[in-house]
């Protein structure tokens, strides 16, 4: 059997178009992995770089805010860094990490006006999409497969070899299976090999790499099936190539674009802006409401501070932080609706992933690489949890009127590398 495969390999490699195609697959896949790893390294660098800068920034606040020990000042002026380190497989599918922040500073103030902050990025660079491994797989791999498979049988027919070949083979199915297997296998190898190398270098889980490799095979199998199906109509190589390229255009460009129209049209998410506007109104109306009313509303959610010294005078941080938090609570429904809108968009994308293979590979790759909308929302969830810890840290100082000393700055919750960082 290896003998036969060896023969087929020699035959394939002597074809004019085969070697350049295979070399190109390997080159593009390796280049994409390299580019992805460079981008991930850059993101790691940024995360590492911000830590000392953050310390310096906190120290600057500490130097003056610790003097009078007012916990309110500390809570108001201190920013706390959060970050979402790229997963080991992020290099394969960079996803939304270029358009959503992966480092974000928050304060113990109302969160809803902080959590949707954007990142400085060049939109024109993001517009065409990133050149990463998932792109090579989803868009380019089918094209290469079409190059090698569109004339599998029709090419033999056009060369006048088909009958002779079929008569010569004692196992005709085996002959085609070997030829298809060889071509699919070589392209799959060209795609998977750089992925595995990149994955091992990045410390990705073997199971994830296996899953991605299985996905490669499945995706290629789909396109192989389509190639065989279309070539069963017995058309010439030229017609096969044209109809396959047309299918490629439809499946990877046109249908996903139509799907985007449908999904985004079905689930509008204007709540994002609405809740931001509403939250500002809620927070700032706090200045004009009677303080007792504000505090009462706050105590309903945080009864543990009910017994503390009542607010007197024109201003107290207790009151300030209370209406900040009430501002967040007042838009909780809209936050949930906004979130549901985003999740519905993602859910329908997932459903489409089962129908459209191009969406399927993108969805699965980004899911495994944790670079999709779900990952972005998960990061926001971790920020919310962290923000809660921040409030829980500052509240005892503020509500019990405990002076906030120099050392207390060091006691503030830190973004946990393992639990929250990824």
């Amino acid at each position: 059997m290896t003998g036969l495969l060896g023969h087929e390999l020699r035959l394939l490699l002597r074809q004019r178009i085969a070697v350049p195609t295979l070399v190109l697959v390997l080159f593009l896949s390796a280049a994409a992995v390299w580019a992805g790893m460079a981008e991930v390294a850059r993101q790691h660098d940024i995360i590492a770089r911000i830590k000392p800068q953050q310390v310096e920034d906190v120290n600057a606040v500490r130097s003056w805010a610790s003097k009078d020990g007012d916990a309110g000042n500390a809570a108001y002026y201190t920013f706390h860094a959060t970050w979402d380190a790229p997963s080991p497989l992020a290099f394969a599918a960079l996803g939304q990490r270029d358009v959503a922040p992966f480092v974000l500073r928050v304060r113990a103030l109302a969160l809803e006006s902080q959590i949707n902050e954007g990142e400085n990025y060049n939109a024109e660079m993001a517009l065409p999409g990133r050149f990463d491994w998932a792109f090579v797989l989803t868009y380019l791999a089918p094209l290469f497969l079409i190059v090698l498979l569109h004339d599998l049988k029709s090419g033999e027919r056009e060369a006048g070899r088909l009958d002779f070949l079929r008569v010569s083979a004692i196992n005709e199915r085996g002959l085609w299976a070997r030829r298809i297997g060889l071509r699919v296998g070589l392209i799959a190898g060209g795609l998977i090999l750089p992925l595995i190398v990149g994955g091992v270098l990045s410390g990705a889980a073997a199971a994830d790499l296996l899953l991605l490799s299985a996905m490669v095979l499945l995706y290629l199998l789909f396109w192989t099936g389509l190639c065989l199906l279309l070539s069963r109509r017995g058309m010439g190589s030229v017609a096969n190539a044209a109809s396959l390229a047309g299918s490629w255009l439809t499946l990877t460009l046109i249908l996903p674009a139509l799907a985007l129209l449908a999904v985004n049209g079905a689930f509008p998410v204007r709540q994002g802006v609405e809740l931001t506007l509403a939250q500002r109104e809620a927070v700032h109306s706090g200045w004009d409401k009677p303080k007792a009313q504000t505090m009462e509303a706050f105590f309903r959610h945080h009864p543990e501070w009910r017994g503390t010294k009542p607010v007197e005078g024109g201003f107290h941080w207790k009151w300030y932080f209370a209406f900040q938090h009430l501002g967040d609570l007042s838009v909780a429904d809209q936050v949930r609706a906004y979130r549901h809108g985003l999740e519905a968009r993602d859910l329908w994308t997932e459903r489409l992933a089962f129908v459209l293979p191009a969406i399927g590979t993108q969805y699965l790759a980004h899911r495994i690489a944790r670079t999709d909308l779900t990952a972005q929302l998960a990061y926001q969830d971790r920020i919310r949890a962290f923000h809660k810890r921040l409030r829980s840290f500052y509240y005892p100082y503020i509500f019990n009127d405990v002076p906030f000393g120099e050392d207390d700055f060091g006691r503030a919750p830190l973004w946990l590398e393992d639990a929250e960082g990824r």
């Binding site: 593009l28 580019a35 911000i50 800068q53 310096e56 920034d57 600057a60 003056w64 920013f79 939304q96 922040p101 480092v103 902050e117 954007g118 990142e119 400085n120 060049n122 939109a123 024109e124 660079m125 993001a126 517009l127 065409p128 999409g129 990133r130 050149f131 868009y139 380019l140 094209l143 004339d151 190589s237 030229v238 190539a241 044209a242 047309g246 460009l253 046109i254 996903p256 799907a259 985007l260 129209l261 999904v263 985004n264 994002g272 802006v273 931001t276 506007l277 500002r280 109104e281 700032h284 004009d288 005078g313 024109g314 201003f315 968009r345 969406i359 993108q362 969805y363 999709d372 909308l373």
Partner: protein, 481 residues
């Protein structure tokens, strides 16, 4: 000339008989129509929504009760970027840039709620817009229809027959190009209709619409010539198809994705977080308002006291706290402008690198040109960011001036201790009405033309290069006849 017409008519007849060609063209035109309709509806809805939000924000600002001016500085304002009419033709980076910014004192917030961040990764497959259909899909459909125009005649041997009837290589190639050009014209038709619609019903600038129509035609013409060249040079139709598919995939799909990677590597931009920290650091160096012994603010105080000829801030005719706020805002704003300019410069450098790739990819050249003329390029967004920042500075300083002039220093200092003072610092809400609303000024047509220049030049270079290619193809075909 008549032979050219004859060849073209004959090819045209063949294309009309080809079910594949008809189907491909029909699908493209259908997509183009769908894209046009949805894109116009999408733009109108988005623009309406933003206008409504803007009106709501303006109203809410004006409707604020009596307050301390500094409360209003932090209450802030929302501004929304309106969508130009031609964004319905080419929305450019609109989905990638946030459409609204919250403006407040001594902070610069990001533009938020861009469509892409709010979408699943479907958004990265590309949006179905008239521009996308013509930039990406149309060339490929032209390839499908046209790869065999000359190669097929060569394969079938009919080319010698034509030659025997006196058809020259030149008239053959020109005729085939003319026939394929008619197909391209049909593809362009829905887009032209869209541009007419946008010009006459939605008030798009006519020069920009004209430029768009013209240069999309140049782009498709370049593709028509490239296809005819490849079809003439290839000995087999299949070779022509493979070469053209490869060319399309490389120039339309691959290079536009690789170019930004190169650009980002050459001109990196720091994250917002780092910029934030850096601005704070610079601010502390220039003048730390929290430090009572800060030399900058000490000098400022001395200058103010000297200017008014008094010894104590309490004796100033104006509220010193307001003056401090004015001075502080001036410092931060200068830094914001500084850092923004640095970022814009880096972005422009990135943009220039990608634009240079237009030499190897006409799709990039056209994309840049199209976004620029549609007013949906990054320049447009930068213009919004700059105007928003200028507006922010303006309203914050107005409010700070109110604090300096309409609130006394005594009241301001005792507002939290003395309830009466606390009441007095809340100034008449008519002042909020006096703050002007944000009016976004879009790019003028000359500004648009200026930023579209590179793309237009590159497209013309492509057309000229294709023209040279045609001459080579004619010479080669003459030798083959």
């Amino acid at each position: 000339m008549t032979t050219v017409r004859l060849v073209a008519d004959n090819e045209w007849r063949l294309m009309r008989r080809s079910r594949v060609a008809q189907l491909a063209l029909l699908i493209l035109i259908a997509l183009s129509v769908i894209a046009t309709l949805t894109s116009i509806a999408h733009r109108d809805a988005n623009d309406d929504l933003r206008a409504r939000f803007q009106a709501q924000a303006d109203q809410e600002f004006d409707g604020q009760p009596a307050r301390h001016p500094h409360r209003m500085v932090h209450y802030g304002h929302f501004v929304f970027r309106p969508l130009p009419a031609l964004a319905a033709f080419d929305p450019g980076v609109d989905a990638f840039t946030g459409s609204t910014i919250f403006l407040e004192g001594h902070r610069q917030n990001s533009a938020n709620f861009g469509d892409v961040r709010q979408s699943s990764l479907l958004a990265r497959f590309g949006q179905l817009t008239p521009a996308f259909v013509l930039q990406v899909l149309a060339p490929l459909v032209l390839v499908f229809i046209g790869f065999g125009v000359v190669a097929r005649e060569r394969e079938a041997g009919t080319i010698r027959l034509l030659s025997a009837h006196g058809v020259t290589a030149q008239s053959l190639i020109f005729g085939k190009a003319l026939a394929l050009g008619r197909v391209a014209g049909l593809m362009l038709a829905p887009a032209v209709a869209a541009l007419l619609w946008l010009t006459f019903l939605e008030g798009a600038p006519i020069v920009a619409a004209l430029g768009l129509g013209l240069f999309y035609a140049v782009y498709l013409a370049a593709w028509v010539l490239i296809i005819v060249i490849a079809s003439s040079l290839a000995r087999q139709a299949r070779t022509a198809l493979m070469v053209l598919l490869g060319l399309w995939a490389t120039t339309v799909i691959l290079i536009p994705r690789v170019a930004p990677d190169v650009a980002l590597a050459f001109a990196p931009v720091p994250t917002r977080l780092e910029t934030d920290i850096a601005i704070q650091r610079d601010l502390r160096r220039i003048g730390d308002s929290h430090n009572p012994d800060d030399p900058h603010f000490a000098a400022f105080k001395a200058r103010v006291l000297k200017q008014y000829g008094v010894d104590r801030v309490e004796d100033l005719p104006v509220n010193y706290r307001g003056l401090l706020a004015l001075e502080g805002e001036k410092l931060t704003s200068r830094l914001f402008d500084d850092y923004a300019e640095r970022q814009f410069a880096a972005e422009r450098k990135q943009g220039a690198i990608v634009a240079a790739f237009g030499l190897v990819s006409p799709a990039i050249a056209l994309r840049n040109f199209s976004m620029a003329l549609s007013g949906s390029d990054l320049d447009g967004h930068r213009r919004f960011l700059k105007q928003a920042e200028a507006y922010r500075f303006d309203i914050v300083q107005r409010l700070n001036r109110l604090q300096a002039e309409a609130v006394t220093f005594g009241d301001d200092s005792n507002r939290n201790k003395d309830p009466d003072a606390g009441r007095r610092v809340r100034i008449d809400p008519k002042h909020w009405h006096d703050v002007p609303d944000f009016a976004y000024r879009g790019a003028t047509i000359s500004e648009k033309l200026e930023s579209a220049l590179t793309g237009a030049a590159l497209l013309l270079v492509w057309l000229v290069m294709a023209g040279f290619g045609v001459r080579i193809a004619i010479r080669r075909l003459e030798a083959a006849l």
